[in-house]
């Protein structure tokens, strides 16, 4: 019973990860492609983590909490990287299927170094 559940979770995770990768390769512009990997990490890796947590918690060595931490890390970092990627794309005015939003502030001559400070 437990094995079946674990197998299902792992397979689901693998499927989502695969779909995400496929999307990254196949979708037509940067903004839609961005969806692939971000969804894949949350849902796909999420399923795998749940599987891992159940597996290690039912081996009689106490509850496995590592996965909670990994999940937290994922849930914090994935949006940040997606946001940064989208920002960079907007800044560079990459081609978009939908009309791009208005600029929030005018790009000024001499504006420098976004990340490095």
């Amino acid at each position: 019973m437990l094995d079946n559940l674990l197998a299902f979770l792992i397979l689901a995770g693998a499927a989502f990860t695969f779909i995400g990768s496929l999307g990254l390769a196949r979708l037509r512009d940067f903004y839609t492609r961005l969806h692939g990997p971000t969804k894949a990490t949350t849902l796909g890796v999420g399923s795998l983590l749940v599987a891992s947590a159940i597996h290690f918690s039912t081996r009689g060595e106490g509850i496995s909490l590592h996965e909670v931490l990994v999940t937290l890390f994922l849930f914090i970092t994935a949006p940040v990287s997606a946001h940064l990627l989208a920002k960079a794309a907007l800044h560079l005015r990459l081609a978009s299927l939908a009309p791009a939003p208005e600029e929030e502030a005018p790009a000024r001559q001499g504006d420098a170094s976004p990340e490095e400070r």
Partner: protein, 935 residues
């Protein structure tokens, strides 16, 4: 070990003297005086034993495996020198307290002086030749610091460097001589060496050994042709000159001659080398002294001359000559220290040392003048003063020696001539300075110095008179004691008296005095002549040419290899590695492939390898697009860490992963300053060469790995696997190896890491480089330097990341992890805050000074190692135990975990230091947003 303490006390005192200076200038002087007094107090209880003729030897095991002990020896000669060093040292300390001005750092001065005192005491109290050599080199170093005390002056720096170069070179030769001597005698202990003089002199290696040892002694004592450093060392403050050139530094050379007298003297080689060097020096020094217009220059050359006299006496090799040599060492130390101090007072009061301008000071400072005149008369060898006695013994010995030589009269002429010059320059010191008209254009009006500044001179002058008038009562016991230990046998009968009747020595004294008076009377035309010849006769020129040649050679070698191109250096490095590796392969007969059966290839490994190949090839193909190449290089690192996981090395995988992240961040920070695309810089031929080199190096490494991996081999891994738990108390074998079995290596590595971090900090601090203000396509950077989403979420991430790193640190001893990985994780977590929130925000919350972190890390790691000494175990022995902690249950603590904490702190501190200062370089090119500018 009370003798060892006598040597150690000045060293401890040096630290104290430097430290108390922060509470007040004069505290250092008091501390220095107390320290010297304390050392004297430790020494004096031994004096009665030594006066009775016994030799005290105390030893402490040092390197028993090679038969070296820390051994200290106190005999008559050592006691005499130790008394001179400490006694005159005390007077110098008192004198310098008034001599140094408000601007001079007292703490530094007295710290250096005490360091020097300790080194000198070490020389004279050493029983062991190697130990003596160590202290000998320490005097060279300490004198370098003392001579260059006024670091701002170029002549001080040059003089110090010259002294260090000449005495250091001599010291190197002396080390060779000592090693030979130790081998010849079969021991480095003086007791053995001094007792086996006959065997040493008969040994075939005697001559080369003698030459090497004498090179050391003669350079130190400024003997011709190595005398030129001494006048340049006069750039030191006068108390230093008074100390170094009367009782200590230069006397170390003649001390060595006296010390090894029983073992080495008595052969024609010894006699000729020393008589020639000493004779030349005696004459030349006296000659040049007369023509120096600088007060200290005159004293410097006179010092050279007197050292020549002492060397000559020891060269004669007879017992009486050695007695005279020791006697003159005492006398010269006393009157020359007094003269230097008087010269310092005059310099201090007049603001110049030029004798053409200082005249007629008798009117302004009669007290000082009287003192200086007594000391100068002693230097000239006038009866009733101590210099007369030893000089007359010297004349008598010269007559004795010349009788046995074919051209002995030459020696007599030279000796009398030197005496004539000595009288003339002493006369000049008295007459030119204190009489001879009125002062010319002095910077300030001279008057008597502070009362206590004269006290040291008074003490020395009183000694001059006491020894000169009542020698048999005052100096005879000391002289007999010292001479007995120089000769290691009975002292020949000698009569210390003013009047010996009419004899050749008295005649020579009278000749010298009369000739000196005449010479001084006829000085004017001689000075004109000397000024014309100024600078023509200069041994320094040879030294300068030699030095320049050496610099040119070193520069040439560097320029030939390093033309400022990293590519070239790397190419040279890789090519030599390939050549040396290939050379290793050439000789062997063994086939490349060993006998071990090959494992089947599995899919995962194959895939990983293909990934590695693809990433590497991609990095090569895209190497001109730096960012892409960097990311591909990062991919290589990630695949490698996957490979580690595949082969069950989670620890290595973790390490590799965190190192990879830090490296990529580091390179990203540096990449900012480089163009995003590199233009093709090298031609086809160059690229072909590089490709060949790369293939050869990679192929070579692969061949080596293949050859090793296809052979069955026994490694020490099973030992570590088996011993990890019982001996190291940890199940993570990698970590136990790092912090326990190979803990000392790790300590060295983190020290290197700390130094590298500090070095990079030193180079980057306040360095501001203009970066590009737009990307390769000409687009400006985004104005939003710290996007809000990233900034706020990253703050959230910090506690989680720190939690993880602490977790990794704590479990490291038993499960994958450890201080190094945890340190990297912490560093990455913190650097994230810098990237997301900016340096200003982060510095407001986190102290930017990381040096204490590094320092504490090293202290904790070293302290853990030292703690095992307290339990009589070797350095870095680890211990562990199981403890019961309520609620948590039983857990294990190992001392190695504390060590790991040290590793952690050093890694965090160094990595952050490097990353932060690499990032801060960007400040200059960062242009603020309009609203930020408004703030």
């Amino acid at each position: 070990m009370s003798l060892g303490l006598v040597v150690l006390i000045p060293y401890l005192g040096a630290v104290l003297a430097a430290w108390v200076a922060r509470f007040g200038r004069l505290h250092s002087a008091w501390v220095a005086a107390l320290v010297a007094g304390l050392a004297l107090a430790w020494l004096l209880p031994h004096a009665p034993t030594t006066f009775a003729g016994a030799t005290v030897v105390q030893r402490l095991a040092w390197l028993p495996a090679v038969g070296l002990d820390l051994a200290f020896r106190l005999d008559g000669l050592a006691l005499l020198f130790a008394l001179l060093i400490l006694g005159i040292g005390l007077l110098i300390i008192l004198y310098a307290r008034y001599y140094l001005s408000e601007r001079d750092s007292m703490g530094r001065f007295y710290a250096y002086l005490l360091l020097f005192m300790g080194a000198m005491l070490g020389i004279v109290l050493s029983e062991n030749l190697i130990q003596l050599f160590l202290f000998w080199e320490l005097t060279s170093l300490a004198s370098f610091l003392l001579i260059s005390y006024w670091q701002g002056r170029e002549e001080a720096r040059n003089g110090a460097r010259m002294a260090l170069a000449v005495t250091g070179a001599g010291g190197l030769a002396m080390l060779g001589g000592f090693l030979l001597l130790g081998e010849i005698a079969g021991s480095y202990e003086l007791s053995v060496i001094l007792a086996s003089g006959d065997a040493i002199r008969a040994h075939p290696l005697y001559v080369p050994m003698l030459v090497l040892v004498l090179l050391g002694a003669l350079t130190k004592s400024a003997q011709f042709p190595f005398h030129f450093w001494l006048p340049h060392a006069m750039a030191a403050p006068t108390p230093v000159s008074a100390y170094l050139h009367s009782a200590t530094m230069v006397k170390a050379g003649v001390f060595l001659l006296a010390r090894l007298f029983p073992a080495l003297s008595g052969t024609p080689e010894w006699a000729w080398l020393l008589i020639l060097a000493g004779g030349f020096t005696l004459l030349l020094g006296a000659f040049f002294a007369l023509f120096k217009h600088d007060l200290k220059g005159l004293l410097a050359y006179s010092t050279i001359s007197h050292l020549g006299l002492i060397t000559l006496l020891f060269g004669m090799g007879t017992g009486l000559a050695a007695v005279a040599g020791v006697f003159h060492i005492i006398n010269h130390a006393i009157f020359k220290a007094g003269l230097f101090m008087a010269a310092g007072i005059i310099d201090h009061e007049c603001g110049t040392r030029d004798m053409r301008r200082i005249n007629g000071l008798w009117k302004y400072m009669p007290h000082t003048a009287t003192l200086a005149m007594v000391a100068a008369a002693s230097m000239a060898g006038v009866p009733l003063f101590n210099g007369f006695l030893s000089k007359e013994m010297f004349f008598a010995e010269s007559v004795h020696l010349s009788a046995g030589l074919t051209h002995g009269w030459l020696l007599l002429v030279a000796v009398v001539l030197a005496g004539v010059f000595a009288v003339a320059y002493s006369l000049r010191f008295i007459h030119d300075v204190f009489f001879n008209g009125e002062p010319v254009d002095l910077p300030r009006t001279p008057h008597e110095p502070p009362r206590w500044m004269k006290v040291p001179v008074e003490v020395l002058v009183a000694l001059c008179l006491l020894v000169g008038i009542l020698p048999a009562v005052t100096v005879e016991p000391v002289l007999a004691m010292a001479a007995a230990s120089v000769l290691q046998g009975p002292v020949p009968p000698h009569d210390l008296a003013l009047w010996h009747g009419f004899n050749p020595a008295l005649l020579m004294s009278i000749l010298a005095l009369a000739g000196g008076l005449l010479l001084y009377a006829a000085r004017k035309p001689l000075f004109v002549l000397a000024d014309r010849w100024q600078g023509r006769l200069d041994a320094r020129a040879l030294y300068q040419r030699l030095l320049q040649g050496l610099f040119a050679l070193a520069g040439g070698v560097t320029r030939a290899l390093d033309i400022g191109s990293l590519q070239r250096l790397i190419a040279l490095f890789v090519a030599s590695a390939v050549l040396l590796g290939a050379a290793g392969f050439l000789g062997g007969e063994a086939p490349l492939t060993g006998g071990r059966a090959l494992l089947p290839v599995d899919g995962v490994s194959l895939l990983a390898t293909l990934g590695l190949l693809a990433a590497s090839l991609g990095a090569v193909a895209l190497h001109r697009r730096r960012l892409a190449a960097l990311i591909l290089t990062g991919a290589v690192g990630l695949v490698v860490s996957l490979v580690f996981i595949k082969f069950s090395a989670p620890d290595l995988a973790l390490t590799q992963l965190s190192v990879e992240v830090v490296t990529v961040v580091l390179l990203l920070l540096a990449l900012y300053f480089l163009p995003q695309r590199t233009p093709a810089e090298s031609g086809l031929a160059r690229r072909g060469r590089d490709a060949l080199l790369a293939l050869a190096a990679g192929g070579g490494a692969a061949a080596l790995a293949w050859a090793v991996l296809t052979r069955p081999y026994e490694s020490i891994a099973p030992y570590f696997l088996a011993q990890s738990v019982p001996e190291g108390g940890g199940r993570n074998v990698v970590n136990v190896i790092l912090v326990d079995f190979r803990g000392f290596d790790t300590l060295g590595e983190i020290t290197v890491l700390a130094l590298a971090g500090l070095g990079i900090y030193a180079m980057l601090e306040r360095l501001q480089l203009p970066g590009p203000d737009r990307d390769a396509e000409g687009r400006p950077w985004d104005w939003d330097t710290h996007p809000a989403i990233m900034a706020s979420l990253t703050r959230l991430l910090l506690p989680l990341a720190l939690l993880t790193s602490v977790f990794i640190l704590l479990r490291g001893h038993n499960l994958p992890g450890g201080g190094f990985i945890a340190g990297l994780v912490t560093a990455v977590a913190l650097i994230m805050q810098y990237l997301a929130n900016g340096a200003a925000w982060t510095h407001a919350r986190l102290p930017p000074n990381l040096h204490p972190v590094i320092g504490w890390g090293l202290a904790v790691a070293t302290g853990t190692g030292l703690a095992s000494w307290a339990y009589d175990h070797p350095f870095l022995t680890s211990t562990f135990g199981h403890f019961d902690w309520p609620l948590v249950g039983e857990f294990e603590l190992a001392s190695a975990m504390v060590f790991d904490l040290g590793v952690y702190l050093v890694v965090v501190g160094s990595t952050l230091l490097i990353l932060i200062y690499l990032g801060l370089m960007h400040g200059a090119s960062h242009v603020l947003r309009p609203d930020e500018e408004a703030r």
